[in-house]
Amino acid sequence: MPPRILKSPAEPAALLPDHFKAWFAARGWSPRAHQLALLEKAREDRSALLIAPTGAGKTLAGFLPTLVELSSVPKASAKMASAKSVVSTGRTLQRAGGLHTLYISPLKALAVDIARNLERPVAEMELPIKIQTRTGDTPTSRRQRQRRYPPDILLTTPEQLALLLSSDDAPFLFSSLRRIVLDELHALVTSKRGDLLSLGLARLWRLAPQMRAIGLSATVAEPELLARFLVPQPGGQEAAADIVIASGAAPPLVEMMDTRERLPWAGHSARHALPEIYELIKANKTTLVFVNTRSQAEMLFQNLWSMNDDNLAIALHHGSLDVAQRRKVEDAMSAGRLRGVVCTSSLDLGVDWGDVDLVVNIGAPKGSSRLMQRIGRANHRLDEASRAVLVPANRFEVLECRVAIDAIAENAQDTPPLRIGALDVLAQHVLGCACGEPFFSDELYDEVRTAAPYADLTRQDFDDVVDFVASGGYALKTYERFARIKQDKEGRWRVANPKVRQSYRMNVGTIVEDDMLKVRLVRSRGGGQGKAGGSTGVIARGGRLLGEIEEAFIEGLSPGDTFVFSGEVVRYETLVEDQVYVSRANDKDPKVPSYMGGKFPLSTYLAERVRRLLDDGRAWGALPEQVRDWLSLQKDVSRVPAVRELLVESFPRANKHYIVCYPFEGRLAHQTLGMLLTRRLERARARPLGFVANEYAIAVWALGDLSFMIRDGRIDLDALFDPDMLGDDLEAWLAESALMKRTFRNCAIISGLIARRHTGEEKSRRQVLFSTDLVYDVLRKHQADHVLLRAARADAATGLLDLRRLSDMLTRIQGRITHRELDRVSPLAVPVMLEIGRESVYGEAGDELLAEAADELVKEAMG
């Protein structure tokens, strides 16, 4: 932990009532310093952010102030604390009793689990406290009762909070609120759910000014920023909650697997290390094996199972498995019946797992904080070090693992900075507000800015959002008569009709799922390649359900293509509605082997450390011999890039010409850069044919002699990589980019332009009566500064296109490009070159794809 010493709190005696002390003592515990610190903060009427590792008793710490306060309420009046004791104070309702504490969790399973855990101390101390959960699964009748007769403590999710706030009786329900506890805050604030939550908080601060917040978080890079989230921001200056840092966690023991095998050049499967991973599971009581993608999880699980001669209880856990299946694994895990679980980020958060004694992380760690949180899953006792083994799947990942281990040793955090509140989320919130009490724009603007992510929201943006919610926000004012919210004579905004309110309720939330298709295994109709398509009669319907897969991935396949799913190589047969039919393929190597290289790119911080490691030959001593040799060879035949420079290599290979560069900025930024470089090379008449990007490098290939063109000055590398590519070139590309269109679609859904659900049923993509891609095209041409396009652009800066990172990189390397002209591929270039044809270029395709298919027709016609 950082050297931030917690001020010793006041006497525990003064903070803890006797029956609490007795309860702690009876269990052989004594209250931890940070638990007492939170009690003290509560007594001082301060909001607080608790930073603590897993296993530190974080949850109990968060609830202790509430339990103590509620236990000191005389029993008689606690019993009376029901809706009957409502006292009207004129403007709002004040109540004795009523809802005291609200707990918000990112996972509904976690809310349910915490409720169960809380019941124990409450029952054992016989505290007069009513605890309830409210999630999407809570029956309507119970939800209604909760609003009328609120419990003392309500555990729920950000979406449910938004729903409660949009109801007429929100003032009644929340006016008594004393405290809000925000769990896993570090995870919540990185997404639009965090934006939604912050706006909910802003509303609560107005309804219940006496409310204080407790945030519970894993260690983050800038706790001071996170602490702002918990208190209302007074315009112009910054305010933050007090920070309490739990001490005492033993530093984790992390090592890199030193494989006996040859380290692969590329790929992410870590297949070479399977026997060693299996041995680790065998040697430990319970091992969590983390991988970065679902397909990796599938593949690894299958492989481990095939070598499981000892019949070890090994299970699989990832997001697209059936919920019941996942629940079963979780239960078996809690009961200590499992020796190993292969999992994805689906287990990054949440329920405590009891006795995990080893975490194995396969592949790139991506970020230091992320890795530390994963490793923390093995930390069930604070005073014992968690143990972890990192298994790099290729040579570059060895570098990444090496610097991640160093970063952990220094406890260096690289969580992303706080988000700037998204405008599409604000639009949803504004509509929600109008569904409750009517609002004045001036008042709501001031309220919204008390939320930290929206503290710097301009009045213009706010007004544009309100205008958008009302009548679409179009420069062409033709929809006034169809407005969804309208101003009354006093200027208050209210919903125009009950249907608007109903639609809001059904569509609240910021999680837009990818369109998923069900994958079913059927028997092949044999040689169906080529003449495939709509003739579905031949495929037997039904078939065993293997799981779900992204529609976008399937769209890239032709019938007959093979890919890995559910641990085996399958052949794509056909698509009927939302069912993908596949058959077993006998191929060893799938034609389209991987999908979605991983959702999270390499963190900027680790990237910087990797560049430093490369630049510092003395540090290579800490690397495995194979990797050292690889780098030394690179130094001999080309150059190892220095910290600040961008190395560009050019070389010919098999009638084509390549340039490879090494920005180390992660796949997302590289993909965007690859698209833009290709456009520029096209303009320079270098006749580029394609590119491939991985986490570390980009390779572009062309018909033109790139080395010669660079030598000749026809390609000026400084100009090629000039940040001005983020101007017109980017604009032109964004017009067509499938990723940008997907980003826009998400904004359109979250902002409420398009409803996901209509009275009861989820609208499937196939039933949508218009395409958001077409809407995007039209809006872009006719009102490029529309608030939804601004929202989509803001997303593109950090999301799928990672534009901000690309822009920072281009600025950093200006004037620092080093070119090496080579006669063949360099050692450092091998990994990315190997990905050509293996990795699909996600989403984008152009006329050449169509031309190719047209050529086939010509060939067919010519016999």
């Binding site: 398509g533 018909l703 332009l753 009566l769 077409l774 039209v778 041409k781 006719h782 169509l850």
Partner: protein, 236 residues
């Protein structure tokens, strides 16, 4: 292997490619229109004007620029070919009252397009009762030589229809691209929708199998710079 087609810098845009229907050669325009050179006749189908405001009436506030966008593209293709006759092949308006919601500017733009040429509005299922004041002629179908123009395809020989909004997807090596397309088997054709907000129906849908009895029909996909003829069996 990827071919050099990406290299467009040196190549002229090929805005049209020929499609033969019942012995008549049409130019399939990249915009989604068909042009009959001999007759100087231009056909566009499924404009779906005022689809945006049609949704707005029901509370979905789509950008109100679709009519403007559609008419802009129509103006461009008309100025490129300077036709003597224009046929709007049905579903020109998204609903029965759509023409009442046209802005004055859009009305003027439409009038300007009609100057110096005959205009035939063919009625479709979205606009079965076209008003008399649109300018031009209103008809259920038009026959010229061996060719019949009507909105809903019946599969008859020499028929050019719309209604189905054909689109096709071509995939290769994990990449894919979906575009609007003309569909033809040499005897009949279905045109792509021209309207900015008009969606699409995959040519693998059973509706197309009914119209093109043989399996060997061809999709003419509207690419970025040219129209590509691709076997329907190659599309998904």
């Amino acid at each position: 292997m990827t071919t050099g087609a990406l290299v467009s810098g040196d190549i002229e845009d090929m805005r049209v490619s020929n499609v033969s229907i019942s012995g008549v050669t049409f130019a399939a325009d990249l915009s989604g229109a068909l042009f009959w050179e001999e007759q100087r006749l231009l056909v566009v189908s499924d404009l779906h004007l005022e689809k945006g405001s049609s949704f707005a009436v029901r509370g979905v506030l789509l950008p109100p620029y679709d009519t403007l966008a559609t008419l802009g593209r129509l103006a461009a293709v008309i100025s490129r070919h300077d036709p003597r006759i224009v046929i709007a092949l049905g579903d020109s308006f998204h609903d029965r009252t759509a023409h009442e919601r046209l802005s004055a500017e859009d009305r003027d733009a439409m009038a300007a397009l009609r100057i110096g040429r005959d205009w035939i509005w063919i009625s479709g299922n979205h606009d079965p009762m076209l008003p008399g004041d649109l300018g031009g002629t209103v008809a259920d179908e038009v026959a010229i030589g061996p060719i019949t123009f009507r909105h809903e395809p019946t599969g008859a020989c020499g028929e050019i229809a719309g209604h189905l909004h054909p689109k096709a997807r071509v995939s290769a090596r994990g990449r894919s691209m979906e575009r609007r397309c003309f569909v033809s088997d040499g005897m009949r054709a279905v045109m792509p929708a021209f309207g900015a907000y008009a969606g699409g129906l995959s040519i693998r849908d059973a509706a197309f199998a009914k119209i093109f009895p043989k399996n060997g029909f061809v999709a003419h996909l509207l690419g970025d710079r040219r129209v590509h003829a691709i076997a329907a069996s190659r599309c998904s």
